[in-house]
Amino acid sequence: MLKHIHDADRHLARLVVIFLFCFSGAALADQHVVRFAYAGKTDTAAYNGVKLGLAEANLQGKFLGYSFAIDAYSPAQAGKLDPTKYVAILSTLDSNGLRALAARINGVAILNLTDKDDALRKECITDMFHIIPSHAMERDAVMQWQKKHPDSRVRATAWDPRFVKYAGRDLNKRYRAKYNKKMDELAWAGWAGARMVADVIVRGTPAEPAQVLDFLKTKLAFDGQKGLDMSFRVTGQLRQPLLLVENGKLLNAEAPVRGVVDPDDYDSLGIAGCSK
């Protein structure tokens, strides 16, 4: 009789241990996964960039005890996005979609990856950040270049697959290796948004939306592989150099254009202040 009870206890004890182990394992796994949301179409260069950024963030995170995951919402589903699960939202919605998102979501960073609308910047929408340069920045870059080269038919872009300066070659290689496609400026913006938010977390910021917002606004020094550490200006725009393409050829010069302005004066491009 005693032996019988003893066996049962041992069996029960074993079950309890297994249950606790599984439960704690699951709990631990959830604790360390930091989630982003993505709102927009996924069959795009920008989302390819986001996925590359996420993979690289996980490689970095692996060494520091973090892992990152992303939940994608199509434009139709964007209204269902529950912000409480995420430290930040990356978006390729257009300016109307972005405004709608910002109207119902408070206190979570929304990163506009691809819309160049000047009005969005002027409105200084709370907690919205713009990765891609605005049309105004592109116009200013062209204007600066044409002060030196009046007859030049040049266009400005955030990224080019032929860019090899600074660490540009490496990033272009990585994108090409993953997708067998050239990295354009929308893909770069997607990559930058994902890497940037992950960078905030791995540098020790608690995975809370408010803390992430504060870091993005006040402490960010992000390596976008364009040769400088980038930060946001008051409009929410990411300060950055623009690459210049003339007659289809990538020029070996960037804007802000040396000789016309101080090449480190990134606020010479685009809208510097809020209009509200």
Binding site: L59, A167, A221, D223, L228
Partner: protein, 318 residues
Amino acid sequence: MSIKRCLIFCLSLLVMQSLHAAGVNRVFVTNEKSDNITVINSKTLKVETTIPIGDRPRGIHLSPDRSELYVAIGNENVIKVVDPETLKILRQFHAGSDPEDFAVHPNGEIYISNEDAAKASVFNPKTGRKLTEIDVGLEPEGVAISPDGKFVVVTSESSSLLHVIKVPENTIIKNIIVGARPRSAIFNSDGTLVYASSEIGGEIQKVDMKSLKIIDSVKLTSDSAKPKDLRLSKDEKTLYVAGGRANSVFVLDAENMKVLKEIPVGKRVWGLAMNRDKSRLFTTDGVTGTVSVIDTSDNKVIKTIKVGKFPWGVVVDD
């Protein structure tokens, strides 16, 4: 008669050995874009010769006994072994993908960063055999080894990480996040400190090797400073930092990390090396295609030597 001959033979071997251990009085510079090595006489500071070496040479270091010179040839995925005296290429061995820089362990083994493979590999340069691989972060570059051989530090540029690796296990014991794009690292002579440079944001970090934590850091104020190589002075109270596109070597107080002076050199200075008694610091000025020679007693440039295209690494065998 034969004993005398034997004695003479042995004596001359000893003399040759000590001569060899004393170095060949040369400075070797890899020229990344002219695919060759410039050989400079370390006494006269004149170029002796240039030897073709291979497609995209970068890291260059000596074996512990200085009998062999190792050169990483990025686009050929090999390390070539050169005799520092005869300048002949003795052999080569496959060194993983896109070898950039490496360090030579006191036991003779080579720890190398494989830039496009997120790995660091360990090789026996005598046999060419790969001994092990260590998974690191994205785009590893700098490798530094403690003088006692117990620790190796590898920097992962695009993951902003310093990996601390324990020898002989060759496993990572700590990962430290640092300023963006860490490129180079060095140990002090007793292995208690590591100094590391981060290119973007121009930061220099000081790591305490007991706690494995960053205990101090400084941001170089020049906007264009993109620091790379570092070297400590003989008394280890001064830290020299190659300032990249600041086109100067920054001189820091190693204790409080304050910038004391900037020594203007050529353009895009990356590589640094010192002679044995640390009386001279040599820089590779990539864009200008020169090596600047600094007298460390007064931290002034005493000579600028024209070398090949985009000089990258430099090592002194004196």
